[in-house]
């Protein structure tokens, strides 16, 4: 069980570092955050994921102290923070706009928080130099923010928030303003810095890929509530609802009725076509709670479906169909297959063979077979 030390949320008796209890925030008649509770553990890189207006930024701003909760409470490292003003919280925030003070040099920006804390002059100089080195901006200390590139500003903002050695660092869409290449590179830098400093990070993002890459755990938010909280793989492989299955990655939905059930598998029927499918049950998913005759939805990730021009004899579940659309993405292709049961499936397959078109490659209007194994689908009660 040694590996579980880095997964404190898996242990029922671990002490949370940030504890949010029944927190709500209303703006007039609009409920931005609706009675949520959450525990975040020390050293986590916790992702708050959701579309715009889902309440994730409001939650972050309540953690920072910029918004006062309508009800509920926030504890950080055992101390109640609900009514504490932002300038007295052991929390720092990196703003989406970076919010660098334009009239101060990079050094002065970073030193600002230390000065407010009454840190000695020589210690300020040392700590600013150290943090500038960490974000690889040692030569830029005398510049003003408008003389820096977007990526450099982002790192100054990070340094300014980290130099105070906060207990928690809040990051509001930290990578949204960077271009794609820089974003990917910065993701890993962020993870490195989090690892070096050991500070607990809470990251707000609308980008599910970013959340998946960065986070130890993700909370998916919608309409002020958590839809699911879990490790990235858990959320991807075991989405709790259709909303999450669709929000994180893409998914095919197949409405079915449970007609038979035994120890390890269930038989499911797609009623309009009378076609029967097999799915394995495992302890983690709610399949085991299903009873015969119950309606449910089979959720199938596009990459877990195989596609071929010949019948897929190895798969427990098979459907014949016709390719309606092909999107060639280089390393893989996405196909939209109109199947015999009238449902269009999205299937992705790696482009393993360097074919020159004709014959081998699957193309528009080709008759194909798609198939999946009994452990590929997730069953959701509907």
């Amino acid at each position: 069980m040694t590996q579980d030390a880095s997964y404190p949320w898996r242990q029922p008796d671990a002490t949370p570092f940030i504890s949010i209890k029944n927190l709500s925030k209303q703006f007039g008649s609009f409920t931005a955050v609706d009675d949520i509770s959450l525990d975040i553990y020390k050293g986590e890189l916790f992702g708050l994921l959701g579309g715009s207006g889902c309440g994730k930024t409001t939650l972050l701003r309540m953690l920072a102290g910029f918004e006062t909760p309508t009800s509920g409470s926030i504890f950080i490292d055992g101390a109640e923070m609900t009514q504490v003003p932002p300038y007295e919280r052991p929390v720092n925030m990196m703003f989406q706009s970076y919010a660098l003070f334009p009239h101060m040099t990079v050094e002065k920006n970073i030193a600002y928080g230390l000065k407010r804390d009454g840190v000695g002059r020589s210690e300020i100089t040392d700590r600013v130099a150290d943090i500038l080195k960490m974000v690889e901006l040692s030569d830029f200390g005398k510049r003003k923010p408008n003389q820096l590139s977007g990526g450099q500003r982002q790192r100054v903002a990070l340094a300014r928030a980290l130099v105070k050695r906060p207990k928690v660092l809040l990051l509001d869409e930290p990578l949204a303003a960077l271009d794609k290449r820089l974003r990917e590179q910065t993701q890993f830098e962020l993870m490195n810095i989090q690892d070096q400093t050991g500070v607990t990070f809470v990251v707000v993002t609308h980008d599910q890929e970013e959340a998946m890459t960065l986070s130890t755990r993700i909370a998916v938010m919608d309409a002020g509530k958590f839809m699911q909280i879990g490790e990235p793989a858990e959320i991807y492989e075991n989405p709790a609802t259709q909303f999450i299955a669709n929000f994180i990655g893409s998914a095919n939905f197949l409405p079915v009725t449970l007609i038979d059930k035994n120890q390890s598998t269930v038989q499911l029927q797609h009623e309009p076509s009378q076609k029967v499918f097999t799915a394995a049950t495992d302890h983690k998913s709610p399949e085991s709670e299903l009873t015969t005759g119950q309606q449910s939805t089979m959720v199938l990730r596009p990459e877990k479906i195989l596609i071929d021009k010949t019948p897929l004899t190895d798969c427990q579940n098979q459907l014949a169909g016709v390719v309606k659309e092909v999107a060639y993405l280089g390393k893989l292709s996405t196909y939209r297959v109109q199947t015999e049961i009238g449902i269009t499936f999205e299937v992705t397959a790696p482009n393993q063979i360097r074919s020159q078109g004709i014959g081998h490659r699957i193309d528009w209007d080709d008759p194909v077979h798609i198939g999946w194994n009994d452990n590929s689908a997730v069953l959701l009660q509907s």
Binding site: A64, G65, F66, P85, P86, Y87, E88, V91, N92, M93, F95, S97, A99, L100, F101, P102, H103, Y112, G113, R116, D117, N146, R160, A161, K164
Partner: protein, 273 residues
Amino acid sequence: MKPGRSRFLLGVLCFGFAFLYVPIILMMVYSFNYSKLVPVWGGFSTRWYTTLLESEEVWAAAALSLKIALLNATFATLLGTLAGIALARIHRFRARTLFTGMISAPLVMPEVITGLSLLLLFITLNQQIGWPAQRGISTITIAHITFSMAYVAIIIQSRLAGTAQDLEEAALDLGAKPFRVLWDITLPQLTPGMAAGWLLAFTLSLDDLVIASFVSGPGATTLPMLIYSRIRLGLRPDINALATLIILTVTIGVLIAGWLMIRQQRANQQATH
């Protein structure tokens, strides 16, 4: 575009500008006229400037006007900045819309009404509490502050509305208490706006005739009041010279204010991109 049409547009443009500026230029030219009769050109001379500078009356009026303008600009900038910050930054501020409307009312209020109402106020105050005992420099300054702080407040408010609150929140987050944030972050951001507001208030005060005439008392004659009273006695060339000097001063002030506001706008754009 056809050349004929563009020539037409150019003609209209020239006419428009000529209508605006030829009288002013003529007046400036005639301020160097030797002749005592204003419309008759008698050769180049600076004698009217000399006459002007020798007149104690003119010096006194100019000094009074400058004193009022300086006092007014300073106080209007202080009060207007505070009002602007309050309007743009205090969130749980009941009736904010009402206050925003009220602060801009002096901009559209006819000067005659502002002047008259202030005069009535001063008279009532004098009767009730014995102050102001006499109308003069203090009442004119107060009257000028009343309307010019509205301009400053609007400049400051629009400056703050154009910048996100992120900077102030970031400072709070880094441990600065609210007053410290105002001093360290908000005010430095506002200096160009405040400077523009100060210059605007200064020129507004220097220009004002109507309000000053209402609230002034015996012995306190501002420069515009002096010019007006002299013109009523007939056109005199030394007034041309005086007007030329005033125009130069005001133009310089307006140019600096405009330059500051453009710079502030650029800074705004840079901050948001």
